[in-house]
């Protein structure tokens, strides 16, 4: 396993963590990051305070909150069925339909409001799958080392060589374009970076004195992993989870764009995918859902950045 492979693949995490991972992966070759072993003085609160000091992070959080609230309460305030035909096809934005209608005469605004639910859910659930698989594999790999590590590294290497979007396309084609399959497919193809990150953190942490001390005190492996190492490895994992939401949302869009969306559930990606052929005549039906995806991904990225700066003191000054 070379250093190169251990760095991260998820685009946004790389930017901030490439160094961290490199340090962890090749211990002794560069200066070790100084990590507070048991974070003194309520680390969560300190991090929150730090987070609130970052204007972009706060802006992202507000934007994200607004989007989440809109998708939760929007459908109640704007109870138009997004799959129902409410007007003439391709009506431009006007008083009847604020953002116009699509190729069937369905309300674009209703699509945005109701479709956001599906998109956000896919993003969150797929990110959760990504993190669960990634953290499990990475934790086992990094904690135990040896043959378990070699095996798991081989497996994740395998998942890494297939371009994730291509692989997800194949999975969705094979198992049918339904929202559940799409979500699982996205999770199944994008966990490797979380695994690598977790593995690196675990490898770094497991040899530290306080872990050795716990082990000597008779703590079992399960207890060590869950109660001792994982909490200490959590900050970068949280960052990576946040960013995974953005990646999943973009993936859902990409798959729908290629015609692999679920036609029975309105989502932002589906709107773009279904209306793409009409962009020359009805720009609104593509532009607005695209902008919604853009804002959602932007929001989670800003939040991810903010968290990263808050929990990672060394990067704070940047």
């Amino acid at each position: 396993m070379s250093t190169v492979e251990q760095t991260l693949i998820v685009p946004r995490t790389e930017a901030s963590n490439v160094k961290t991972a490199a340090n962890a992966a090749a211990p002794g070759t560069t200066t070790m990051r100084v990590q507070p072993v048991a974070r003194a003085l309520s680390p969560a609160r300190a991090a929150l305070r730090q987070f609130l000091r970052s204007p972009s992070g706060v802006a992202g959080a507000i934007l994200l909150l607004a989007l989440i609230l809109a998708t939760i309460f929007g459908p109640m305030l704007y109870p138009i069925d997004p799959l129902e035909i409410v007007g003439l096809p391709f009506s431009p934005p006007d008083a009847d339909a604020l953002l116009g209608t699509d190729y069937l005469g369905r309300d674009v605004l209703a699509g945005l409001i109701h479709g956001g639910r599906a998109t956000m859910t896919v993003g969150a659930v797929a990110a959760l799958i990504t993190i669960v698989i990634g953290v499990s594999v990475g934790a086992l790999s990094g904690f135990f080392g040896g043959w378990i590590d070699s095996l798991l590294v081989k497996i994740s290497e395998f998942f890494q060589v297939l371009p994730p979007l291509l692989f997800a396309m194949v999975l969705v084609t094979l198992f049918g374009p339904r929202l559940t399959t799409i979500t699982i497919a996205i999770g199944a193809v994008s966990w490797t970076s979380a695994a690598r990150l977790t593995r690196a953190e675990f490898m770094r942490l497991r040899d530290l004195d306080f872990i050795k001390a716990s082990r000597a005190a008779g703590a079992g492996n399960w207890h060590l992993i869950m109660r001792v190492v994982l909490p200490n490895a959590l900050p970068p994992i949280i960052v990576s989870a946040t960013l995974a939401i953005g990646v999943a949302i973009l993936f859902e869009g990409g798959l729908s764009f290629l015609g692999l969306g679920d036609p029975n559930t309105m989502s932002w990606g589906l709107m773009i995918g279904q209306n793409r052929n009409y962009v020359l005549d009805a720009w609104w039906a593509v532009t607005f859902p695209g902008a919604a995806i853009f804002l959602a991904v932007l929001a989670v990225s800003l939040v991810g950045d903010g968290i990263n700066d808050a929990v990672n003191p060394r990067l704070r000054r940047r």
Binding site: P177, G259, Q274, N277
Partner: protein, 534 residues
Amino acid sequence: MMLSKRSFLTGALGGMALAGLPSETWAQSAGSGGGTLVIGSSQVPRHFNGAVQSGIATALPSSQIFASPLRFDESWNPQPYLAKSWEIAADGLSVTLKLVDDAVFHDGKPVTSDDVAFSVMAIKENHPFKTMLAAVDKVETPDPKIAVIKLAHPHPALLLAMSPALMPILPKHIYGDGQDIKTHPANLKPIGSGPYKFTEYKQGDYYTLEKFDKFFIPGRPKLDKIVVRLISDPNALLVSTERGEIHAAPFIAGVRDIERLEKSQNLVVTDKGFTGIGALNWLAFNTRKKPLDDVRVRQAIAYAANRDFIVKKLMGGKAKPATGPIAPGSPLDEANVEQYKFDLEKARKLLDEAGLKPGADGMRVTLTIDYIPGADEQQRNVAEYLRSALKRVGLNLEVRAAPDFPTWAQRVSNYDFDMTMDNVYNWGDPVIGVDRTYLSSNIRKGIIWSNTQQYSNPKVDDILAKAAVETAPDKRKALYSEFQKIVVEDVPIYFINATPYYNAFAKGLGGLPTTIWGVASPLDELYWATPPKI
């Protein structure tokens, strides 16, 4: 010097670029015939041999490369092509073709009756349309220029089967080498006797055809070269056509695209040239599955579907309504059938009678609807519209997307469906493209575009059998009229519209292909009246 404003890079470099292409461009501007035609299409051909491959993607190039015994005009009349004359025996059991004298293949070898015999048998053997030449027993060749097609029984559909898209005459000296014709290497480097010879195919990008100097009709073709660009994205295709980078865009089926191109000052947009193909868009029912085995349920759906809205609103008035199994525009089309005018009350009543009572939520039953993936406007959009429309009479539709064609074909051909949108072509004569959908003998599991509705009516079987061998045109028409009335009454299929195929041509072009086969027949008369500036 004229420079297009479209390209700043090439423009900036104008001198150099133009120096690099001296002859062709400027020959065009002189307006002296010749010139290059660029066709843009999203239809990617599997190969170029129409003898073993149906479909418009292949029919377009195949009809340019290969000549056929006959061609047709705008009013369904056969015209001489490779056959300078043809004669049907009084008993209807043989057809004698006299070939033109000076036809040669692109490699210089003469076209003989041996090639005709070989091609007819090869098509009978390999073409997916089994009924098309099923009546052919053998082809006799008493003379190198005379071919006699012997039939087991009268077969009036044979004349249309001799069209360019359906009966390309293959060179026996190339295809007769024992290799399987369906995968013959020459299918991708074809040699025929048509007006244009094949020159190059760049996968996924374009293919080119060049004027064949020794084409057997003097003075044709008029163009020097045809380039067919394969453009996958409809937006890009549209933009390129508007800008004049593409001179002909055949098979446009998108209503918005049609409307947009019609507005362009530089284009002529026409729906002429598709009556032969006769593409129908319809909703098919699984007539053996409950509750759709009840004709009243099917009729109710027909009353609730509102063909008028689909055709006028959804398809912007660009599509012609279709009311029966034979496409509008065919001389055999019978307009006087049950129309199923939009009537929600009648639909509800029929459903009540069939025992489908509404539940507490107003819904009677949930049914699935499939559609062919990749044909959004005709298929997916209508399916989605129907979900919305049928809800009003208490039918809940679940739209089942198929990720790819085989998934859809698998479901439908194995009867794992309630309803499906489908798009099927008439191909000129009912025997070729219509009978297959309704004959009970063609209920063949696992085979797509057979009678997948599993519709079975002995009377229909009987009429179709009679009509297939009836040589008197008016009697034949009467038989088909009766057939259409019965089928529409039985609703194994709810007919929606003729697929609105349109062709767009640059204004400077003359001799536009407006025959029943349109661009699926030789473009040898097409010429530049006013050559394009770029």
